[in-house]
Structures are given as structure tokens and as C-alpha cells.
Symmetry: C2
Subunit: 390 residues, 2 copies
């Protein structure tokens, strides 16, 4: 087990009516004027935005709005938001939505008190030491951003999609999580969220660090819960209990509890970020394609942990052949993804002729010549993994 520091101070308010606390929580944690950040209109149509505003007003919290955030959020609205926040004297960020709204809000939060270009943080040229406080009303369980200090933003100039990871400064102070708000999520988006949370766990689980049984068992438990509950959500989008299990799983998948004590991997996320940046696919759908390919590549080189995943999570009966067991586990993971309507290949992702050399070039441009926790990958390996997605 590696040394680690772990701290997750986010206050989660979970369950029926959680969003009704927004005015009270905002007045306590976000100050007198918030920026509400949201996406393309579903929170408007559902009436949630009006309810949020009413609750804020009731508690004397003023607000400005920044709507229209797209999936795979880009830098343009971040610059716009920073300018508005400065002009309007905004004291805290209130994203209402999923990862795109939250990550945009975090980027604005980091940018407002910073003298330079907010992208400096994502480009690794500066460290976030100060930010506006962030509170969340979650409507899409997927990114886990409601409990993490991370934010993924794409710079339009060059289509660089980069994940910034901070320890504390960008962690939401509160997250209001009512599973009922997820009833109206379209099936494909629900499934993409499931793939995203599975990936967040697997990036931590497939680690070179040995003797981390406690973290392995927690990670395996969260994956088993997701695999058990996801089909229920797909069968009945208004199944409160299944939605609740999926929603909380998405938070645990990414708030760090599945990663304590070990080196992590994150190559699959890096590889997917290039796909979604270039082809504009849903991040979760991209991950459903990337992960089995990455696992297949790894199974041939370092099968033990993948076999453990197969045995403990996917119910594969152990044999003497770890590689075969690993492949059977991967096949079952693919079958699970397929059963909830996720794509498994570039083609099913709607990309008929992927430009693999371009993806590889951008990947190494963004991440360097070699990277990866489970095994180190170079330009010799990454094209092969992309080709396994064909």
C-alpha cells in the first residue's frame, strides 16, 4: 500500500427533496450572489431552475445565470463566466446539472481570483490556490464531479481536452442529490453515465500497487452494485431505489475512496478524451469502447489483476489460466455494456473511419511520450489499443 492523504469534505445531502435545501446551503456556503451554471435547457423545461431560483430568493441569495453549457465543456463559456462573475461581484458558483456544468463552474471558480489566463491551471503552468466556493445540484450521475476536486475542460484552439486534478480547492462544499431528478434522463445518457462511473473505478482498480485488499474490495463492491442496479434503471427509469443506488455509486466511484493507497492508471480516460475532443461523442460512450480494448491489451501482458476483476466482479469461475479468465471477464463487461445499449466499437460510436494516427499524435502531445500506472505505454502501444476498438 502506498502512503496517501485522503480528505473529502463535501457535504452530501441525498434523497427526496434534497434540492429544496439549495437556498439554505447557498446562503451558508456560497455567499450573497451565486452564478447558476446549467446546460442545454432540461433544467429549464423541468422547472428545476425556477425552483432553484425561488429557493435562493427565499434565502436572500442573489444570482446570475450562465446557461447553454454543452457536453464535453469547452473554454469559451469559462472566459465568459469569469468576466460576468467579476463584473457582477459573484461570490460562489452553483452548477445545476452534471459534469459539464460542474466542471465549467469549477473552472470559472478557479479563474475569477486569478490574474492570468485560467487555462494556465489546465496547461500545468500554474496551481490553483484560491477559488470561489462551489455548491452543486446534481441531475446527471456520471462524472462524479459533485464529489471530486477535478475539472475536465477542452481548449477549442487545438481541441486539447485536459483534466485538472486538485486536492481540495475545487471540491464542492455541498452537493444536493435527489435521485428523482434523474428520472427524466434519456436511456443513452443514463448508460453513458454508468460507463463513466465504471471507468472511474477501473482507472483506480487496475493499479500496479499490490496488497491493497481493502481498497480492492471497496472498488469491487461499488462495481458490483452498479452492474446490479444499472439494468433496473434501464428497465424502469423511474425506479427510485435503483436510481438512488446508481447516483451514490457515481459519487463513490470518483471521490477517491476507490483509490486510497495505490498508484492509479487513467490511460483509458486520456485515450477517450482524444476521441471525444475530436469526434464529439459522449464521454461515457467513448469509455465503453476504450476500456475493454485497454483491458484486452493488458490481459496479454499483465493478466493477474484483470483475472481478479473477472473472478470477483464478473463472476468468472477461476481456472489455472489467468489470461483466459481475464478475457472471459472482459467479454462479460462488454456484454454488460451492450445490454444497456452502449457502443463497443468505433463504428458503433458513429466513427466509421477513425483517424488513429491523429488520435495518437494528440494523445502524446497532451500526455507526453509515456504514461500509465498499470503498465507504462508509449507510441508503440497506443495505436494498438486504438486499433482494438475497430
Amino acid at each position: 500500500m502506498e502512503n496517501f492523504t485522503y480528505c473529502t469534505p463535501t457535504r452530501y445531502v441525498f434523497g427526496h427533496g434534497a434540492e429544496e435545501k439549495v437556498g439554505e446551503m447557498a446562503s451558508r456556503y456560497l455567499g450573497r450572489k451565486v452564478m447558476i451554471v446549467y446546460g442545454k435547457g432540461s433544467v429549464v423545461r423541468s422547472g428545476l431552475l425556477d425552483r432553484v431560483k425561488a429557493s435562493l430568493s427565499e434565502h436572500g441569495v442573489d444570482y446570475v445565470e450562465l446557461g447553454g453549457i454543452e457536453p464535453n465543456p469547452v473554454d469559451t463559456p469559462v472566459y465568459e463566466g469569469i468576466e460576468i462573475c467579476r463584473r457582477e461581484g459573484v461570490t460562489g458558483m452553483l452548477p445545476v446539472g452534471g459534469g459539464s456544468a460542474i466542471d465549467t463552474a469549477k473552472a470559472i471558480a478557479a479563474g475569477v481570483p486569478y490574474d492570468g489566463d485560467f487555462w494556465d491551471f489546465w496547461a500545468g503552468k500554474a496551481t490553483v490556490t484560491e477559488a470561489l466556493p462551489v455548491g452543486v445540484v446534481l441531475t446527471i450521475p456520471a462524472a462524479g464531479s459533485e464529489g471530486s476536486g477535478n475539472s475536465v475542460i477542452t481548449r477549442l484552439d487545438g481541441m486539447h481536452k485536459i483534466s485538472l486534478r486538485t486536492d481540495m480547492v475545487l471540491r464542492p462544499l455541498f452537493s444536493l442529490m435527489n435521485p428523482e431528478l434523474t428520472f427524466t434522463l434519456p436511456p443513452y445518457q443514463t448508460a453513458c453515465g454508468v460507463a463513466d462511473m465504471m471507468a472511474h473505478i477501473m482507472e483506480r482498480y487496475f493499479s500496479p500497487t499490490e496488497d491493497v485488499e481493502i481498497t480492492d474490495r471497496v472498488a469491487e463492491g461499488v462495481m458490483m452494485a452498479i452492474i446490479e442496479e444499472a439494468p433496473k434503471v434501464m428497465a424502469d427509469p423511474c425506479d427510485y431505489q435503483a436510481r438512488a443506488n446508481i447516483m451514490w455509486s457515481g459519487t463513490l466511484a470518483h471521490n477517491g475512496i476507490c483509490g486510497t493507497g495505490r498508484r492509479e492508471d487513467w490511460v483509458s480516460h486520456f485515450m477517450e478524451h482524444e476521441i471525444s475532443a475530436v469526434y464529439g461523442v459522449a464521454h461515457g460512450a467513448g469509455l465503453a469502447v476504450v476500456f475493454p480494448a485497454w483491458l484486452t491489451f493488458m490481459a496479454a501482458r499483465k493478466p493477474a489483476k484483470i483475472a481478479q476483476f473477472a473472478h470477483r466482479v464478473m463472476g468468472v469461475t477461476p481456472t489455472a489460466d489467468l489470461h483466459a479468465d481475464a478475457l472471459e471477464g472482459i467479454a462479460r463487461l462488454r456484454a454488460f455494456y451492450g445490454s444497456i445499449g452502449l457502443p463497443l466499437t468505433f463504428s458503433q460510436l458513429g466513427i466509421e473511419n477513425p483517424d488513429i494516427p491523429r488520435l495518437v499524435e494528440k494523445l502524446h502531445e497532451n500526455k507526453g511520450e509515456s504514461f500509465g500506472g498499470y503498465l507504462t505505454l508509449t507510441r508503440r502501444d497506443t495505436p494498438e489499443i486504438y486499433r482494438l476498438m475497430l
Copy 2:
């Protein structure tokens, strides 16, 4: 799933050399003068106390000491500590040890700014709204107090052993956790710690709330990790990896992550508190005796969840007979406890003729006429459970 609020802001610094951070962390979180609270001398003999003092001095943090805290901590040193803290202008509490030192320190932390008798909080006559900050150097993984807002204190007058549960105000701001500091724990104390952490999970796991798959899986995972790692620790007390797994498991067992979304039970703890208050046994040893008895009583009345425990945690092959499966799971739990040297009966606990009527009387005096989450128990039931421990 029940609505819940979850927040665990404790900063855990885990691994080799974690305790070396004590001066830096104390100066940041505990102010200019701390009270070091410790037990019966092992931290003195090991040299840890001297190292802690040196680190404090190096960071300009002054200190006073309160040593000699006994297992199953009582109110006397709490009163003494409150008086010293007020007189000396102590700004923060620094327990160095396990649950007894930490719980005593928390009680002092609550008592210092309070105008009345600190016991008011434990007696339910007042609510803790303010306390000195607490930081921990953990040397005994068992109580989980390093990550909880709880504190168990026994009032000597009447031997009332009561657990106070707070949401936030008594949670340690930091906990420094170096598994090496646990190498010298005697085997029996190590085993008692294991029983304590298992009990903390089971109190949450055996819940009347259904459809909490995610929390079930996490709890099952932590229990499986403990059952896997405990024998390694018993076989080799200096096995760093196994000690590390056990130490972190003890925190997860009690920081709330195994309880999110459900009603909890805690009857076994209530029943054990009477045993350890009256007979002065180690809390964990008492729990090893109480829990299988409680489970056996419950298996006859509500076997489903106990059978799930048997199947998923204890590896019992499912049959059509849930009661039989539950009993087999309990038998394996007893075998596990026995294998690490824990007592399974009153007699093995060193209590030849337990005064069950007295235990029952005190139990209901402290906890009321009926209690329990999994099933409600009354005076008709509790003597039977105590008799199952004979």
C-alpha cells in the same frame, strides 16, 4: 434507501512516517497550545510521545499532558482535563493512542467551552454546538474514533457507558495513521480491534432498510478485507501491508461510509457496553461474544439479511433454507473470531456467572424499554440474547 447527509471532513494522512506531520498539522489546525491525551504508557515506552513533543516544539506548538487514560474511558479524567485546559488556555486536543484516548479528548473538547457539566451531552440533556478542535495520532486501529464524530464515555457513578454521536463538531480535523505504530500491539488487543471494526460494520449492515445495494456492497467489501487480512496480522505482527489494510478498514468501518442510506441497529453495542461497564472487559472482546448471539437470535426471526451476509461475506453456498444458511454464516463468523483468539462466550470472556438481570436492567435503564433498528427488542428479548452468550 433512506435520505441521508454525509460529510467526513477529517484529513487522513496515512502511511510510513505519518506521525512526523504532527507538529505541522497541529500548528495548522489546533492552535498554539494542545493537550496531549494518552493511555497507560506504551506511547511513552515506545518513544512516540517524545517524538510527538519534539515535532510540536519544532513547529512552535506548546503542550500540556494528560496521561493514564484507561480502556473503557471514564468521566474522571474528562473533568480533570477540562479544568487543566481552561486553566492552561489549551486551544486544541491531541490524543495519541486509540479509542479511549480519542474519546476522552473529544469529551474534554466538548466540555471546555460548555458552561455546565460535560455529561449533559452524553445524558441527552444538551447538544454539543462548540468544541475545541481535535487531531489524532492513531496507534490502535479498532474504535474508528479517528474518523467519527462519536465518543463513548462511562460515568463512574452508576457505571453508565454511553455513546454520544455528533455529526461534525467532534470529528477530528486530522488523523495521522502510520501502520508501523501498530506493530507492537499485543495479539489479543489486535484481535479485539478486529472484532470492534467488524461490529461497527455489522451494526450498519443489519438494517431494516431495503434496496441499499451500494452500501451493502461497500460494507461487505470492508468485512471481507478484514477477514482476509486479520489472520496475516496475527501471524506476523510486523506485516506492514496487512497492518495497513486493517488500519484503514477500521476507519472505513466507522466513518459512516458503511451506513449511508439506511437505518442502523447498534443493539449489540448497547448490550456490550453494559458488559464492559460492569465487568471491565475489552470492548472488542465483548463484541465478539455479543454479535454471534444477537445474530443467532435474529436468524430465527428475520434471516434474509443474515443469509446474504453468509453468502456474500462468509462464502456460504446458497440453499433454499435461509435460516440454515444464516446459521452457517454465523458459525463461520465464530470460527473466524475463534481463530484469532477472541472469546465466544461469557465464560471465555472471564465472566463465570454473569448477572444477566443486572445487565438487562442497566441496558433498559440507559436505552429505554425498546430499541433496535433491525428488529425492535424489549425486555422479553434482551435476556434471551444475553443467555445465548453463556
